[in-house]
Symmetry: D2
Subunit: 362 residues, 4 copies
Amino acid sequence: MANRLLKTALIGQGFMGRAHSNAYRQVRHFFEVPFDIETTVLCGRNQAALDAMAATWGWHETSTEWRAIVERPDIDIVDIATPNALHAEIAIAAAEAGKIVFCEKPMAMSAGEAARMAAAAKHVPNMVWHNYRRVPAIAYTRRLIDEDRIGRVFHYRATYLQESGTDPTRRPSWKTQKASAGSGAMGDLMSHVVDTALYLNGPIAAVAAMQHTFAEGRDVDDAALVLVRFVNGSLGSFEATRYATGCRNANRFEIHGSKGMAAFNLENLNHLQFLDATEPRNLQGPRNILVTGPDHPFSSNFWKPGHVIGYEHTFIAALGEFLRALAEGQPFHPNFEDGLRVHTVLAAIEQAAESKQWIELL
Amino acid sequence: MANRLLKTALIGQGFMGRAHSNAYRQVRHFFEVPFDIETTVLCGRNQAALDAMAATWGWHETSTEWRAIVERPDIDIVDIATPNALHAEIAIAAAEAGKIVFCEKPMAMSAGEAARMAAAAKHVPNMVWHNYRRVPAIAYTRRLIDEDRIGRVFHYRATYLQESGTDPTRRPSWKTQKASAGSGAMGDLMSHVVDTALYLNGPIAAVAAMQHTFAEGRDVDDAALVLVRFVNGSLGSFEATRYATGCRNANRFEIHGSKGMAAFNLENLNHLQFLDATEPRNLQGPRNILVTGPDHPFSSNFWKPGHVIGYEHTFIAALGEFLRALAEGQPFHPNFEDGLRVHTVLAAIEQAAESKQWIELL
Amino acid sequence: MANRLLKTALIGQGFMGRAHSNAYRQVRHFFEVPFDIETTVLCGRNQAALDAMAATWGWHETSTEWRAIVERPDIDIVDIATPNALHAEIAIAAAEAGKIVFCEKPMAMSAGEAARMAAAAKHVPNMVWHNYRRVPAIAYTRRLIDEDRIGRVFHYRATYLQESGTDPTRRPSWKTQKASAGSGAMGDLMSHVVDTALYLNGPIAAVAAMQHTFAEGRDVDDAALVLVRFVNGSLGSFEATRYATGCRNANRFEIHGSKGMAAFNLENLNHLQFLDATEPRNLQGPRNILVTGPDHPFSSNFWKPGHVIGYEHTFIAALGEFLRALAEGQPFHPNFEDGLRVHTVLAAIEQAAESKQWIELL
Amino acid sequence: MANRLLKTALIGQGFMGRAHSNAYRQVRHFFEVPFDIETTVLCGRNQAALDAMAATWGWHETSTEWRAIVERPDIDIVDIATPNALHAEIAIAAAEAGKIVFCEKPMAMSAGEAARMAAAAKHVPNMVWHNYRRVPAIAYTRRLIDEDRIGRVFHYRATYLQESGTDPTRRPSWKTQKASAGSGAMGDLMSHVVDTALYLNGPIAAVAAMQHTFAEGRDVDDAALVLVRFVNGSLGSFEATRYATGCRNANRFEIHGSKGMAAFNLENLNHLQFLDATEPRNLQGPRNILVTGPDHPFSSNFWKPGHVIGYEHTFIAALGEFLRALAEGQPFHPNFEDGLRVHTVLAAIEQAAESKQWIELL
């Protein structure tokens, strides 16, 4: 039986556009799905760059008019990788046009926008590119939790540490301006922290927070720190910052439960630390598990055990699982509802920081 | 010239009493000081245990009456290693009797007690056993900061993670009861976190916090988490918990500054992570420095470079430096004033947790 | 100007065939080269598997007759990923037909075969897939050596540790039989060790060795250990084994020189340990460098700094650099001459193990 | 019942003399033994230094005549911490005088000397200070082996890496001259490697080796590398060097067996890596065990779990266990027979290096 053809439009020509393009090119190499993906049209503002990127990544057409694309009846998927300020308008238009909609994170400029997007996308298949849920080590942590190997959770501690802010030679970009990005470290980094926390440790009951901008004259946050009470009774802390000198991409978490401990750092994407607290005490120690199989998430999709994967594979795996869910008529996560949940927490953090009060989420 | 003899009374016969006893036996082996230490009298409540401990550690006499000891004119040093509830009364009496006073941490049951102790001890040499200031890696971090190798500090992140709370076979002790300990993780662990933070990163401007007791029926905190604004403009977070499964004694900090990064974990007492951000980016990475010399703090006191030291050496070094300061008529830190500073922060944390408000310290 | 089209035939349908297929699909996405790669024909023995693999990876045709393919005038590249026993015959035929020839490692069944292959390929562009030269951390080590940051080398220590042999459920494969593989750990793992050593530390003067087969009835080596004298005066040791319980893919080296130290483990593909011994001693420690840029090998080709790559990227980078060299008329390494150098060392190791003598290579 | 008093004479006033002195002062603090140790007389050549050291460490008398001391009837223990060249003569004299004899490693200048020493000491209690057998992590490895948690051993890999040789400012000492030391890295470092290997993995069947002197004009080895066949069928390699830039004191081993893996590095004295290969594969990873209790070797002697110990504790524990064995009339290891076993292997290594042949030991 022939595969169904999915004609795809990608709106966005930056770094994330490359990562998504790669996922479209690679997904069929690693995931068996009953779809063919056509990289139909690449949309952006800079025609010369569009031409080059289309040539490199095999996009059939280019366009500088996203509205025209969204209206094209032949397009099946609209994938949004623009600056954040455009997410909502495009996503809502695409959803209303009945497209499958993918959206980069942070999904929106605000929780209000996210709510409108989620409402609009209710009747179309959709995905937010919180790609880190498909890091094998993170998916494996989820499995360890499901298998009750962590037990009752006491503590969940997460930090996303980068150092872009400390580099004086770095030029301002859309990511450091409120008009285009909506926020700074909050949308860029904290949204990942929150999505992973919700995925692994469930809903949040209350937060206290502080935000700070180190760079003079910048109108977005450079760093945010949060105290968290989870609904499951565990205590948490989140931190996201662009001023963590020495950290290239340290998206980390540590979970302590009654039966075990797990710890992760994205700079060591292929490893997970796990401690089994049910063993004799003298044999306990954090195990450095190389999460490349056998019997690890996605290990049968990619290479042989012991052969590590990289950043890009998290996009491939997200897309692969989305397509499998689509084929099977199953729900997929993270979708726009999940993105809205993230934004609801982000909004509470901002409110807590501004009001200097604890904010209850439930 | 003969050394001055210092007759020492140790009040306390538990784990800390052993650590102090060891320091008295060892200090002259590693530090040149113009004093002889006589381990004159060991004081506690359990006579059988006192006898055994005195025999093991060479205490000349034993006593079950601390008041009598404090009044003895021949005693030079009164060292307090009792449950916290007794610290203030003994310390004030000893100070009023003109003794040199040493006190285990947490110094007091409350900031009020700490203030009275500091006032009473104003005119006698005194020390709080915040021994971790003498971990070579921590003292070396202080030196790196002094040499401006960290630069302007952006972030200071500290956790003291233990797992005693998760062990159902563990019996309650004086450390888990409010009447004897005053607090739980706060006095036991957070006091170390705060002292080290004040030592390395200076005074604190404001805190927000939460505290929690996981164990049913316990009247002290099992865990506390804090957001911190330091006076130097950096953002901080503190966490102290007895429910961090998998962590035996993870007293950790991470500092990110404009010029470098430093990170430490007491479970790796002899190592410091340091990153020099002034180097070419492609050569940067956290260096795992084995802080055993040459030219590291205390490295000339103990063994040869590459030969690691342990927990007990931090007490020996604290005592050694106290005695050197005493001989030279120089101030010593941490003293009761420093202990009071710690308790002022602890009190603000408790108040912040209780009131769910930010508490300003200045 | 239009790119030159290179029609490619891949002979081999196993794990390495997948890795090569991926390189063909991906190279143009990350490397600017004036060639288009057509994945023209996939050749193997199992038609059903060929069909599936061709469908997945976009091979236009399939074939079960490698001879016919080698004779096809339209084919530009013949890429050999078969069991080792077929390498020489195919490679020589392809070279004699004037093809560009790529060959998986180990290049040959013996040094004699390797010599005939190298002779045959003298007049055609060629490559051996010693892909690990393109691990960024390994290429960066080469750069550190070139910049004299290691200095005069004293020691070079390398191990390639896997555990496949210890798994009783693992079925024998062509890799564990002399007729198809020529050797065991020697060709499979030691060939990588030797190629990397020659790349980083130069030619070898003499070896002593032992080999061992743990598995009963197996006619190839499971493990080999070697003492090495390098021409540059440094002392080395090599080990390759399939019985290193606990090691998934631990291809490691450590280099100690008069100015610095470097250490690597393929299980942490994105990291390099580097110590600068010219700094003040108290600041020295092995730095854990995340070799993902900026200014690291291939960092501008793949993702942003801090975003890790995986196993497959080493093939993409090897192919990318081969094509760039081809375009510029420059020599490329590792080529068949380099492969012959590896086999000359492997033969000396085998001879040393068998004779229980040191074997001089020069 | 009163303890028996053991009057001790220490011959040697260098670094090891300090380490032994410390053990005498500390052993009763941590080990319950029915002996009192009197630090009776300290013997050396430099009277001024002797006086200072005696004052620091509490030696009652000093002497520059070891012969007179050995003949003193009141002395119970003669402890030899001199340059190696004096070990045999003193040890034999002391043994013949009926003393308990302790000897620093390397025990002798040659296997012949070691044999004469072992013969002479046959009828007196004796010990060689191969202190690393009392590193808790090493003793725990021995226990894991005894509990069959490693299984049949396939590989044993050990290196002792120091960098003293690379320091041009370092003055020659008795340790770098054949007349006083007998050898270089061989006696200093390799003797530890061999003793630990014999302790953990049993007797050695055959060796091949190379030795090298990097420093011009030096008459002892700077480095030695060895291939090893153990009697238990496992393959081994040993390396000892003073030219391992970047390594302060990296005494390391890795053991791979059918059931597990263990790995150690003295620079992380308190940790052991252990992998349990009998678990499900996806849960396997090297565990970083903090070997400080509960239920670890010596953990009940020293501090609480999680409170690390240092280099000196290995001497205290060796002495403590020697005294316990003495009290119970049990054999103690490592004794002079064990020291002879080490020297037999060292001699075989030297012979193998010189002859460029494999040397059989059995």
